[in-house]
Amino acid sequence: MIREIFSCIRNFPRHIGTALKNIWRNGVMSISSIFAVTITLIIIGVIGVIAINIQDMTMNVESSLTIHVQMEREATQEEVDATYAALQNLEHVASVTYSDKESELQKLIDGMGEDGEIFAEYQGEDNPLGDAFIIEAEDGQYLETIASQIENMERVNRVNYGGESTTSLVSGLETVRNIGSVFIIGLTVIALFMIANTIKITITSRSTEISIMRMVGASNWYIRIPFMLEGIMIGLIGSIVPILILYYGYNALYNASDGMFISNMLLLRDPYPFVFQFGAFLAILGSSVGLVGSFMSVRKFLKF
């Protein structure tokens, strides 16, 4: 074993040379493998970018969710103040904003669009609404606990978190994200099989070569290492185009859409350092699949 490891280390530069030569001399086969890697990584890249952005958006929207606490119409100013103080002392509450009954009615009118104008006449003494507080949580996950604590307070009429539209947007995004995740994982697995498959074919067509190598006394590792390096290089070369597409494509998309998708609640992730991180991920993914793919494929031919 030790002898083998030393031999590997000593021969490393030679192995790299062999790998490069093999890629060059196998022409069509190498190009095909590189092509398979390229396509696969493009698929993974596109889906990945979409997935990451949807995930971001969901989190964004979730974290922008607020709790709307509506006091009873009959609550006195003292009671309102006491509630204000109590709310500020709750755990995980980031901020509490007071909103009096007049501005509440105005918001209702605004929210209803044209239909709301009809209710403008109920402003003032006729106002059917009470004062309210808008609470931001430290994190979306605390909304429920906070809300249930507030519901037990006196003089609180109703506790609402998230306008109805926001909630449905979040649940929509979550559905898309969940379906998307299954899809991404599935597609990634499939795509990686694809690379491994292509590398397997190219290596199978070289089984004679491998058997001749064994015949003249090359140890299994001596045969395997150049193939593994070849796999890594094919993976790296194959990831160049996807990375370029990612870099230019994402920047173009970001600039064209002003960094948002449909509404300004759905923000795209900043291109930097995202494209670099994701690009590095693609390169690593490509080369490791190349490595594992060749390792597994060569294995088969080292058995006799």
Binding site: N11, R14, E209, M213, G217, A218
Partner: protein
């Protein structure tokens, strides 16, 4: 690795039988001893089992029954992983050459040295010397498919002898060579033999068997039907 290697023999077969998956009985109950430093011809009609016999020696095939010892090693007991190390003791010239198609002549020959961890500085000169020996110095940078049949055969010979193996096995090393070149190649093999290597040559070439008289083993229909210590062609 060579602990139990007795000096009495280099190759020893005890009751060896080889039956292929297809049911063909290529060898039956072969018993044979070849001493270190011997030069042996293996002759016999086509399909007699000569190639099968030597495939057993370098473990391309495994005997169906019986025992094969080469350089003191029980060939059937070698683990798959260890086979390449075992093969470093043996130089083989294959009947169908088996050159690496994507490597040049030089690379094909040097590969046999590289895998045995020969120091880099020795490789170049050793390969050059061996290619000179077989008369192919000017084809060093050609690829196998750019060579004539006889040239490919000589590359195969160069590859087999370059790392001075304990045993050299050659299957029809002159099948594609004209008499002059054959004689040269036989001279090379004799020189290798003189340095202590055990040499086994499978051949149909009446001419060389007669010219270079050596121990000759005749295999016919899977059996050794004749084994002389002095050469002599047994056909006609």
């Amino acid at each position: 690795m060579n602990k139990d290697w007795s000096d009495e023999y280099m190759i020893k077969l005890i009751g060896v039988t080889k039956v292929y998956k297809t049911g063909v009985r290529a060898l039956s109950d072969i018993n044979l001893t070849i001493e270190p430093g011997e030069f042996v011809y293996v002759i016999g009609p086509t399909g007699a089992g000569k190639s099968t016999f030597i495939k057993l020696l370098y473990r391309e095939e495994v005997a169906t029954s019986g025992k094969v010892f080469v350089a003191g090693i029980d060939v059937s007991k070698i683990k798959d992983r260890k086979v390449p190390y075992f093969r470093r003791n043996i130089g083989v010239v294959f009947q169908n050459f088996r050159l690496l198609p994507k490597k040049t002549v030089f690379e094909n020959v040097s590969f046999a040295l590289e895998v045995t961890d020969t120091p880099r500085k020795h490789i170049r000169s050793k390969v050059r010397r061996t290619l000179d020996l077989v008369g192919l110095a000017d084809k060093a940078n050609s690829f196998p498919h750019q060579l004539s049949g006889g040239q490919q055969q000589r590359v195969a010979i160069a590859r087999a002898i370059v790392n001075e193996p304990k045993v050299l096995i050659a299957d029809e090393p002159t099948g594609n060579l004209d008499p002059d070149t054959s004689t040269e190649i036989l001279n090379v093999l004799e020189r290798v033999n003189a340095q202590g290597t055990t040499v086994l040559v499978v051949t149909h070439d009446k001419y060389i068997v007669e010219k270079f008289k050596k121990r000759t083993i005749l295999i016919d229909n899977g059996c050794i039907t004749s084994d002389t210590s002095v050469g002599g062609y047994i056909y006609d």
